[in-house]
Every structure is written in C-alpha cells, then in structure tokens.
C-alpha cells in the first residue's frame, strides 16, 4: 500500500466505524451506546429492541456498506473499461433490466412469494443479467468489446427496457403496485436481512480479490487502449473480465436494493482525485469510500424522514450531485 493511500484508507475505515455506530442508534426503539454494547456482547433475541438492533438495523447497515462498495467498484471498472469518465455501473443496462425484471414480477404475479422464496430480487437479477448479456452482444464484434458500440447499445437497450417497464407500470392494476415499483426504483435497504447478505458480500470479495491481480492492467487501461496494448496488456481479455465482474456486482446490488444511482459515477472520481489515476490501492479505497458514502446517505434518509426513511437514491442524488459539481468546478479532478 502506498504512503499516499494509507492515511485515506485509515480515515475511511474510521469514518465507517463512526457511521456504523450512529446507524445502530437510529430507529424506533430508543437505544443508547450502553444498550448497543450490551446487545452486541450478550444478545437476547427475546427483547424486541435487541432483536431490532441485531436483525434489522445491523443487516441494513451491512447491506448499505456492501451496496456502496459494490457500486463504486463497479463504476470504477466500467470507467476503466470504456476509458470514459461518464461511465457508470448502469451503462450496460443493468439498472433498467433489473427494474424491468422486478416490475414484471410485481405486475404479473399475484403471489410474490413462491415456495418461501421472495421473487422480485430474483427476477431483478435475471433481468439485470439478461439485459447486460444483450448489451454486451450488441456491443461486441468477433469476441471483442467495442467501447463506443457498447455505450450506444447500453443507452438503446436501457431506453427500451425502461419503456417496457413504464408501460407495465402504467397498466398496473392497483395503486399499491405502482407504489411498489416507484419505491423499488428509488432504492432502499429496508428489506435487508442476514439471509441475503452473503451474495453481495461474496460478489464484492471475489471482485476485489480478482482485481488485486488485475490492478496494474486496469491502471494502464485507464491511460488509453493504444498505450495499454503497447505496454503488453491483453486489452480484449481484460475488458471481458471487467464487464463480467461489474455486471455481477451491479446485478447483485440492484436486485437487493434497487437501482441506487450516482455512487458508481461519483466515488471513482473522488478516488482518483484523492489517490491519483494509477494508485495501487485505488480499488480498495474506492470500495471503502463507496460504502461510507452510501451508509451516510442511508443514515441521512432515515433521520430526515422517520420511520421509513426517504428512498436512498434520492439522497445520493440530492446531496451527492452538489458536492460533485463543486469538485468539477474546482477543475482539479483527475478525470
């Protein structure tokens, strides 16, 4: 780890600790620090307040951290892959595909739980992966991904899936269905539970581990395709790995939390601004920063509009965009 990155990583970890503790305090049951300590050391599930702390607040916090980390890393990979600063994790149509899957589920099925499995996240994951597959198929020629073509295919397919989703929402038979779709499309961690957390955790862990070996190639790719090829990077192979990793990560997150926007666009920029374009710990820091940012947004959402909280996607945009514009105006951002 470089000297430049170390203090930032330490700072992001400290911030995470503070946010986690604060997050454990926000909820309907009044819980002070002593109570939190007691619960974590000696958990009694018969006490409803302790149950809420361990089974509801904690998984929500972990979900926010994983989603933030996953989307930020995914955004970083997509920006490197197409070598375009405007790229984000939803470039491949993942968000609109997941939304279409979920809307299909909400609109067509009268019973959303079959054999004990809650179907919307599953449908969202299938929608996300199918759409990504379609975009990748349209954006590649002879097994090679063409970034420009991929971008356009992503825009076109996203528009199509969004239109289909819109049509289904418009035809939805009840106001409740419409509210579910709208609520889902703005992102939320309210449904988080320990049972689903292993999936995004595994996806993020595997992605970070894989990218440890690819970090160098990734950084070179950020300098441009020609330079990367000159420096011996297998551009085509690297791009495929990046696309598959980003799509899996984004698909997992979107399926569980809905399409939370802006994290994947902003956090990679912040990372490069703070650590430089070719920093060795960029991906790790990007994940930590994304996790902090999204958890912070969720806390704000819960504080601003208790008890249900505002959809977290609104907060990421409302508070993230002005900050991002401020950074851009300073013209010191390393794009």
């Amino acid at each position: 780890m470089s000297r430049r990155a170390f203090p930032w990583i330490l700072a992001s970890l400290s911030l995470m600790l503070v946010l986690v503790v604060l997050g454990l305090r926000i909820g309907s049951f009044a819980t002070d620090y002593a109570f939190i300590g007691r619960t974590l050391l000696n958990y009694n599930p018969d006490d409803p307040a302790q149950l809420a702390l361990v089974q509801l607040r904690l998984p929500r916090i972990v979900m926010a951290l994983l989603a933030g980390g996953g989307l930020a890393v995914s955004g970083y990979l997509m920006q490197a892959m197409v070598n375009n600063a405007l790229a984000d994790p939803y470039l491949l149509g993942t968000a609109s595909g997941a939304s279409l899957g979920a809307i299909l589920c909400f609109s067509l099925l009268s019973n959303l739980t079959v054999a004990g499995i809650y179907l919307p996240p599953l449908a969202a994951l299938v929608g996300a992966l199918l759409t990504t597959l379609l975009v990748v198929a349209l954006g590649s020629q002879r097994g090679q991904l063409i970034p420009g073509q991929l971008l356009l295919a992503g825009v076109a397919i996203s528009s199509l899936t969004a239109a289909l989703g819109g049509l289904l929402s418009f035809l939805s038979s009840s106001e409740g269905q419409l509210r579910t779709v709208v609520f889902w499309a703005m992102g939320s961690f309210e449904r988080a539970g320990w049972d689903v957390l292993p999936y995004p955790a595994l996806a993020l862990g595997a992605a970070l581990l894989l990218l440890v070996f690819l970090q160098k190639d990734l950084n070179v790719l950020l300098l441009g395709e020609e330079r990367a090829q000159t420096l011996g990077v297998q551009v085509a192979r690297t791009r495929w790995i990046l696309v598959v990793t980003a799509a899996t990560l984004t698909g997992c997150v979107v399926a569980l939390c809905g399409p939370v926007g802006f994290v994947g666009l902003m956090v990679p920029h912040l990372t490069r601004w703070l650590l430089g374009v070719t920093g060795k710990a960029n991906l790790l820091f990007c994940a930590l920063l994304g996790a902090d940012f999204l958890l912070g947004c969720d806390l704000l959402a819960r504080l601003l509009y208790p008890p249900a909280g505002l959809p977290v996607g609104l907060i990421t945009a409302l508070f993230g965009v002005p900050f991002f514009v401020y950074l851009l105006r300073k013209k010191r951002v390393a794009l």
Partner: protein, 321 residues
C-alpha cells in the same frame, strides 16, 4: 201531477245540460292541468334560472344546476354514494373501478385514470362528483375549464360520510331520501355502540400493501371505524400521508393486538415469511390475523355500517384456526 211535471222539466233540463257538462269536463281537466303544468313549468323555469352556488369539501366554489339531470362520479365510493341517494336514471356513467352496486355495471364506462376527458365531455354531465385524493386537482381544473363543475367530498370519519350523503341529497334535490338513509345508518351505528366491548380496546394495525409495508394511518377513516367497532388504530402517530410506509422495527414497537390485511394462512406464507421478525408481535403470537373485504375497508361509502360491523366481528373473534 204538478210535481211530476216539475220533475220532468228538471230531467229534461238536465238531459240537455249533462252532455254539454260531460263533454266540457275533459276540457275543464285539461284547463286545470294546463294551469298546473304552467305552474310547474313556471317553477321549473324559476328553478332553472336559479342554479346552486355551492362550496365543496375542498373549498372550491362551483355553480351547478338547481336540479342536476345528468350526473356521474369519478370514484368507486362516490358511485356507491350516488346510487344510495340520487335518482339512478340521472347517473350517466361509471368508471372502470365502479363495481357496486351491480346496477352500476350497466352504465357506460369512462376511464378515470387516465381521465377520458373527451368521453366525459361527450356525456354532457351537469356535475361530476368525486372524492379527495382520487381525482387529481389538475384533472378537476381541466374539467372545470371545460364548463363541467366537479364537486369533491372528503371523509375522515363515519359522520363525514353521513354528512356527505346529506349534502348530495340537498344538491340533487333528494333531501328526503338522503335523510331517510342517514337516519337509518345513524340508528345502526348507535345500536352497535350499545353492544358489549372489550375492556381494553385492542390496537389494530391494518396493512394496505406488503412491500414496502403501507398501513392505514391515523388520519384515515379506518381510525374512526375501528373506534366505532370497539378497537383503536395501532398507528397513533400523525404522518403527512394517510397511508404511511412503516419499517419492521416500527411495527415491532407498535406490537399490535390484531393485524388486518389477509388471512392468517395467507400472511403466514407471504408477509411473515418475508418479515419473520414480525412473528413476535402479539397479533401473530395470538393468531389474531384476519383478512377483510377489500371494498368495504377501502371505500368510504354508505356501506360504512357493514364495514364497522365486520371490524367489530373480527375484534371479538377468537384467534384464527
């Protein structure tokens, strides 16, 4: 003899007079009828010339004919209200969601969402009735711009519904029918209040949607209905929305005695399967989870008494099997 002659002269005179009287009678009746018709025509003209200037529950001022002859509703509950009070021949259409009473199904359908403005205008209604929150203010403004007055009602208590019926009776020129109906509803509601009640009103949480969990808030008709039924709305906090979204933690803290929103078996395999933490609430522990007739629960209509009766039965019911 003289008497005989006199009688004869009288009969002759009468026989001469009777045909003329007989033939002139219809004329007399016709004349009288014409006079009466003239009178009602004069009254009608006078009434037609005096439209009603009224203010609806949202504070909108509008002018409607003295005796509206073509009316319609843009809400299922309002259609029920109109069928209870109005001359049903004057109801010119229903919306796609109006399915009660069955007679309403015979009326032509006008889409309320999205609003079929053209179809509605083509029906030339004298006035359109609706309920707050069902028709958008924008749609109301567009209709009024086209010269169609829209009368909107708001109900947060059962008394509001009775008042709404009275208002409709007055506006539609049928105050007697409205009074008869409201009196009988009032009597039934009062009779229910006399029935034995639980010593502590059970806290009842009614969910409207499972993902996210939306419930009947404190500022809805449900609060009054459940009070009349002998219980209390578990949601006592005031939220801006009538149907707020709640977190699982909030519901755990509310810990309702009764949960309404689906039968025990159905919710056990859906709601409680997705939110297993909520199995701790008293309603689940005591298997006091009940389904309810959607229309009765959702619609503020003259069937409010039926709805209260259903809630009362559930509150007093034994735990679900």
């Amino acid at each position: 003899m003289r008497l005989y002659n006199r009688r004869r002269a009288y009969l002759c005179a009468m026989s001469r007079l009777l045909p003329s009287v007989f033939f002139s009678l219809p004329l007399l009746f016709l004349f009288a009828a014409c006079q009466s018709n003239d009178k009602s025509a004069a009254t009608a003209t006078a009434t037609a010339a005096a439209p009603q200037h009224v203010t609806d529950d949202l504070g909108h001022q509008l002018t409607i004919p003295a005796r509206p002859r073509r009316i319609m509703s843009l809400a299922a509950s309002m259609t029920e209200m109109l069928y209870a009070v109005a001359d049903t021949a004057t109801i010119v259409a229903r919306t796609q969601v109006c399915d009660y009473p069955r007679a309403a199904l015979r009326k032509p359908v006008i889409s309320s969402y999205p609003l079929d403005l053209e179809g509605l205008v083509a029906l030339h209604p004298d006035v359109v009735f609706t309920v707050e929150g069902i028709t958008s203010l924008d749609d109301i403004a567009r209709l009024e711009k086209l010269g169609i007055p829209v009368y909107c009602q708001r109900y947060t208590t059962a008394a509001d519904i009775l008042r709404g019926l009275t208002d409709l009776g007055r506006l539609l020129g049928r105050p007697v029918q409205a009074r008869k109906l409201t009196d009988s509803l009032q009597v039934e509601l009062q009779a229910m209040q006399q029935l034995p009640r639980p010593s502590r009103p059970p806290a009842v949480l009614a969910i409207t949607w499972q993902d996210p969990i939306y419930v009947y808030g404190e500022n809805t008709l449900f609060t009054d209905k459940i009070r009349l039924a002998g219980g209390q709305n578990a949601v006592t906090e005031h939220f801006a929305q009538p149907y707020p979204a709640l977190t699982r933690e909030y519901i755990l803290k509310l810990n309702p005695d009764v949960l309404i929103g689906g039968s025990f078996g159905k919710l056990d395999s859906t709601f409680f399967k997705n939110y297993p933490e909520l199995k701790r609430i008293k309603a689940y522990q005591n298997r006091r989870v009940y389904g309810i007739t959607g229309d009765l629960m959702e619609r503020p209509s003259p069937r409010v008494v039926e709805s209260v009766r259903e809630l009362q039965r559930l509150i007093g019911a034994p735990p679900a099997p």
